[in-house]
Symmetry: C2
Subunit: 463 residues, 2 copies
């Protein structure tokens, strides 16, 4: 089963204890893959260290022996970065799941990499504070994975991505060297900001073991509205007015194209939110301390937008339950795997002004090649982030063909092939659409400098 020399296996067991090292059939199958749908791979061993010192011991041993190491968090990634290496060890952070401290006055939280996003959110909430990142996998995904993939999600418009939440990071390098960059400060101009390299590196430069995260005051009130719009330009104008009026407090601006709204209503048996269908529907959240004032200001802004012909129609939720009903339309994404056969999903980023044209051109190209195809367009448009899902059954299951169309257009519009999900193995073939050869060469030089033997998550991202 194992091609390790027995001395290596013995040294691992001695360093971590027998219960922290598993091999072969003893490794739970959930460690063989992630949510990307990539084919499962059984690693030679799964190790589950309990501390940074144990992570360092594992990496020192693997480095001496030349064994590849694949870090694993909650295994909810969509790009395949956590899929094991058949000749390597999978290093799970799941036992390092402590919230070590919350400093309410400074609004910071120190956490081990294996804590779930939800645990961090709850620890912040217990102090009247908010953690700025939220996403659907919150109960399973782990902070180390969120950092390693620079996760986005629902809060980016207001608070930025994981990178913006991270004040400090403890990292173990490929050779076992620990970089304890955990000083909880907003400002620290002392040489290169090394932690930035590991955020979004998908485990290819080292293992993230602990982090100091920034928290925000939890808003006392949030008001939700659904706005009907005739075209993409109107959506952009509305977004600009919202950000002007509610500077720093626009918590969501999710845009749904008609195809998405129609599919969502059908799949979930919901009623049309407006008297008639509209080309675009925007879901808006604004946050603040005074609910009545917030609602009045939003009513005024949307009233003006309707009078000016900018908005076609609008509804403001009068309760949290009503807000939930409006959000339900957007949450149809959970239904995609049930209703598309299978969905071919994209997570692209584009210059804000080009998103409307990009979507229209993608649709026209699909239409020409696969008349009657099904595709839905939606996304965190306030962040420049468009998601689209194409029903594989309606495009001859030509996933590569659809990807080529989308990513060629991303390259043409100077966009990104991955806004928030990362590269892993899944998007590696298309990295060149968003990065020049010179940029990739610089990344490889950095990889070689920090991981000269190429043992950290080999074959992922740069490959």
């Amino acid at each position: 089963m194992s091609s390790f020399p027995s001395s290596f296996f013995q040294a691992l067991t001695e360093a971590l204890g027998a219960d922290a090292v598993q091999t072969g059939q003893a490794i739970a199958p959930r460690h063989h893959s992630d949510w990307s749908g990539a084919p499962p791979v059984q690693p030679l061993a799964l190790v589950r260290p309990r501390s940074t010192a144990e992570v360092a011991a594992v990496l020192r041993l693997a480095h001496a022996q030349g064994v590849p190491v694949v870090p694993q968090g909650g295994l909810t990634g969509l790009a395949g970065a956590a899929v094991p290496h058949a000749q390597g060890i999978a290093l799970s952070l799941e036992r390092m799941n402590a919230i070590e401290s919350v400093d309410a006055a400074a609004a910071t939280l120190t956490v081990q990499a294996g804590a779930t996003l939800q645990a961090v959110q709850e620890a912040a909430g217990a102090q009247g504070l908010l953690f700025g990142v939220d996403l659907g996998a919150r109960g399973s995904c782990q902070i180390g994975g969120n950092l390693s993939t620079n996760a986005g999600g629902n809060g980016v418009l207001q608070f930025g991505m994981m990178r913006e939440q991270c004040l400090g990071l403890e990292v173990v390098l490929a050779d076992g060297t620990v970089l304890p960059m955990l000083r909880p400060m907003l400002k620290n101009n002392t040489g290169y900001d090394l932690k930035q390299l590991f955020i979004g590196a998908e485990g290819t430069l080292g293992v993230i073991t602990r982090a100091v995260l920034r928290l925000h005051p939890a808003p006392a009130a949030k008001v939700t509205a659904l706005v009907a719009l005739a075209d993409f330009e109107a959506a952009l104008t509305l977004l600009g007015r919202l950000q002007q009026r509610f500077a720093g407090s626009v918590a969501a601006f999710e845009l749904m194209w008609r195809d998405f709204v129609e599919a969502s209503l059908k799949w979930q048996s919901l009623r049309e939110p407006f008297d008639q269908p509209h080309a675009f529907v925007a879901l808006v959240d604004v946050a603040g301390s005074d609910e009545a004032g917030l609602r009045a200001a939003l009513e005024e802004l949307l009233g003006e937008a309707m009078e000016a012909g900018l908005a076609q129609d609008a509804v403001i939720a009068q309760s949290q339950a009503q807000a939930g009903t409006l959000w339900k339309i957007r949450e149809a994404t959970a239904e995609l795997p049930t209703h598309m056969h299978p969905p071919i999903n994209f997570d692209v980023s584009l210059p804000l002004a080009d998103i409307g044209r990009f979507a229209a051109q993608c649709r026209a190209t699909f239409d020409a090649r696969w008349p009657g195809h099904t595709a839905v367009f939606f996304g965190h448009v306030g962040d420049g982030n468009l998601h689209l899902s194409v029903d594989g059954a309606t495009v001859d299951h030509d996933e590569a063909g659809v990807e080529r169309i989308v990513y060629d257009k991303v390259a043409q519009f100077q966009g990104s092939v991955s806004a928030e999900h990362g590269i892993g193995t899944h998007k590696k073939p298309y990295l060149g659409a968003s990065r020049t050869q010179e940029e990739l060469a610089a990344m490889r030089a950095i990889k070689a400098a920090l991981d000269p033997k190429g043992l950290m998550n080999p074959g992922k991202v740069l490959g």
Copy 2:
């Protein structure tokens, strides 16, 4: 005068034209140093390229010849990073000063590195937008230098430092390779976020030539208050309440210790702002769209704080002129060189909760060693950033002794020896107080990977 081979000098002149290459006495003395007070150095040549292609040509030639290159922006740095190398060339970006475009809908601005901060602020303002970084040297400092030092300043509490304003960056590496990472997107998870390395690297990894910057809606209103406080803990509590009530809109929270207020009033012949002296005074700005509402909310919050004994006294400016008068107390920093002989200045960062203790311990240590010394404490305390200035004449001109006291204490409190000014040459001896040997080794490995001949701003930061 020059130790270049004449062929190198000729090649430079051929590539850039004679008017872009100066040597010896023809180099204006202002290019010999920066605002750090470091001793001036005359470089072998000053080159002033007009384009990224010309910057690349200079670096290719210097790389082939093994000539050190020191990039220069507005020369307002306080750490000495832009001081020339006697055997190298100074590369000034001053001719690359175009604001290339402003995209008001997307709130982004594309700019060449040599544009001044003020030019960027004005270009944003012309579109009803705001650039999030502001600092005293705005009319002279250049965007490339602001990025290379990850500048901070007055807007950090609300908008973050330069790093947070930068969506894209064009960089020329030591060998002349251009990395055109200018895609203007908020979300772009495609491999390592290379631009983060160059931000704050003080020109030691390459030359920043262009950037895409993020803009914000310009707030329609801003209200300023001055609040008297009995102790540091009260200041922290007040800050927390402000951030809770005005989430995302607290634009300034500048704390001044009594020593600073007293010196400021004396130096500028200003009146005491309150009926009696207080241990601490906080200057607060809140921004928003509705001035009357903002003022009413701030009045309510400060009224409650006074009733609860949290604040000792408070005054809210009723006009922009009154706000200017309140701000004048904080702006005494411009008077430091006149009234201290000379000032020994610090820019340190500490965990928020420790700033009060840190300041008290520094003062006690100074007092024990130099009874009757003069020192003033102030800073962007909302960011964890404390400035302090000690009058050299009152501490036997023992600059090294004062530095040792302050930086030892920074190390003890796990703080940063440079919050926003950078390392340059000035703080190099103290880098070890904020960074471990392992962290410095990782930085050197990255430097070697991107600049194997060590020609980019040699001797700065890592040395």
